[in-house]
């Protein structure tokens, strides 16, 4: 549905997007993840025909974003980074305007707008002036605007920023419910958002794609070791030495408790070994108190930090 090939964008000699390629299949939700300034917004602006690429091509629903921009624009719903709102209009008249310029037939417009307002829970502010809405409501009007005219492809630039937790949850469920019938590409900095809503993730950093996989796949791929966290009541140096001497342990990091408080240890073990029993036995056999012991799974967060900090 979306095919991006060797796309680059140069702003005044600086490469904001550098030779990125990826595909999004029909009905898929793709998460676009990256730190500030990674080039997420730039890529989305190219996909939505707002600006041209310097090099490379992008096709949406089979149409080239540069050559057949009108066909692309007919099929895309775009929620820019800052919601494109006319502050003096009421919510309803704004949505009515957007529906008109998107070409929704007048006979269906009213019911369609009602449906979209219900999906984004903004029905209660339908006659309020947009400029006086709270940030979260403005954001939701921005999402509603993108959904108008049922576009095949949705491009959402940080759709949940500025929302309260309940709304974040609702917007995420909304996006999830679009899977299958719509193709969605959304950008975010929030990692749980990706694991919750997206079927696939593209991580970009400094304009380059650094990883592309399912959220679980990424976590597994990054997993170089099994980790076990322990909380032990005992002399930290001795515990450290004991744990390090166990067979299969690659490394131990300690966080010594103050004033005789228990210390925390993180033990790195060889991949595909479960040393939890051995570790527990070792601690107990020395007469130290084992207060906590758990396996630590590698989170997407670790993957992310790892990817974007390694040069």
């Amino acid at each position: 549905m979306i095919e991006v090939e060797h796309l680059s964008k140069v702003y005044n000699g600086r490469r904001a997007v550098d030779d990125i390629s990826f595909r999004v299949e029909k009905g898929e939700i793709l998460g676009f993840l990256g730190p500030n300034g990674a080039g997420k917004t730039t890529t989305m602006r190219i996909l939505t025909c707002y600006m041209p690429a310097t090099e490379g091509t992008a096709r949406v629903a089979g149409y080239d974003v540069f050559e057949e921009s009108l066909e692309v624009r007919k099929r895309i719903g775009y929620m820019p980074e800052s919601p494109p709102l006319y502050h003096e209009m009421t919510v309803y008249s704004y949505l009515d305007f957007v529906a008109k310029i998107k070409g929704t037939p007048s006979s269906k417009r009213k019911s369609h707008i009602d449906e979209v307002m219900q999906k984004t829970s903004i029905g209660d502010v339908r006659n309020r002036v947009i400029g006086r809405l709270s940030k979260g409501y403005k954001q939701r009007v921005g999402v509603a605007q993108a959904l108008l005219n049922n576009p095949e492809v949705l491009v959402l630039d940080e759709p949940t920023i500025g929302l309260d937790p309940k709304q974040i949850f609702e917007v995420r469920s909304l996006i999830k419910s679009l899977a299958g019938s719509h193709t969605v590409i959304l950008s975010t900095h929030i990692l749980p958002e990706v694991s919750m809503t997206c079927s696939r993730v593209v991580i970009i950093n400094k304009g380059k794609v650094v990883a592309m996989d399912t959220p679980e796949g990424l976590a597994n791929q990054m997993k170089g070791a099994e980790r076990v966290a322990l909380l032990v009541d005992g002399p930290a140096p001795a515990v450290h030495e004991k744990l390090s001497s166990i067979d299969g342990v690659l490394g131990v990091s300690a966080e010594e408790g103050k004033n005789g408080q228990p210390s925390r240890f993180t033990v790195e073990c060889k991949l595909n070994t479960d040393l939890r029993r051995t570790l527990a036995a070792a601690v107990v056999s020395q007469g130290w108190g084992l207060l906590e012991l758990r396996g630590v799974s590698v989170s997407l967060e670790d993957v992310f930090i790892n990817l974007i900090t390694k040069e």
């Binding site: 939505t48 041209p52 009108l70 624009r73 007919k74 820019p80 305007f97 070409g103």
Partner: protein, 256 residues
Amino acid sequence: MRNILAIWQREMKSYFVSPIAYAVLTVFLFLCGFFFYSILSAVIQSTMMQAQFGQGSQPVDVPGIVGRSFFGTTSVVLLFMIPMLTMGLFAEEKKRGTMELLLTTPVGIVQTMLGKYLASLTFLLIMYAGSGITIAALLIYGNAEWRPILGGYLGLLLYGAALLALGLFISTLTENQIISVVITFGTILVLWLIESFSSGATGVARDVLNYLSVIGHLDDFIKGVVDTSHIIYYLTFAFVGLFLTYRSLESMRWKS
């Protein structure tokens, strides 16, 4: 067509909730009324003086003189008002990020431009209609000839259409309304003052300068003479303005 209408409607609504548009309308109508009144009293006073001293052998066409001076003054007032009608048309869209909406929906650049242009023209017509109330008094009570008055309004309409197109273009160049209004005003002022430079020039240069002057072409209209060359001048002016607007919007999409 439907898109043009949608853009036009939105723009009209935003004019009518905008304090700027109301201020422009109020000040314009006030100035029109004020100048009309002062011109009228000045003309009446001078005709009475003439009559007293017995020089008024031929009858003085009071409504005609009043009409001419009125249109002359109005055209100057418009010089200040028109930049304010166009300053925000694209500048505000760029500033609020709504340009991103317009450029990524199926609505075309030409349609957006025409919708906005027609909205500003409509607002100008509303201003003219308001000022027409005073002028109507001349027709009703003053037995004025209607030809110069109609000609005057036709001239003002073309003149306004030309300046609005220029303002629309300048509005695409910046995202700051103030910069937009200042540049528009400066440009119009130059086009207006060009006439006074022409007195120093000779030959072809003089003719060219005279031809370029935006206000010079209005004189014949106010006298009731509708000359196609003036109509062509204003229409060309408006067309060039719209063409530049189009190119500027196009480059916004394809260069950035």
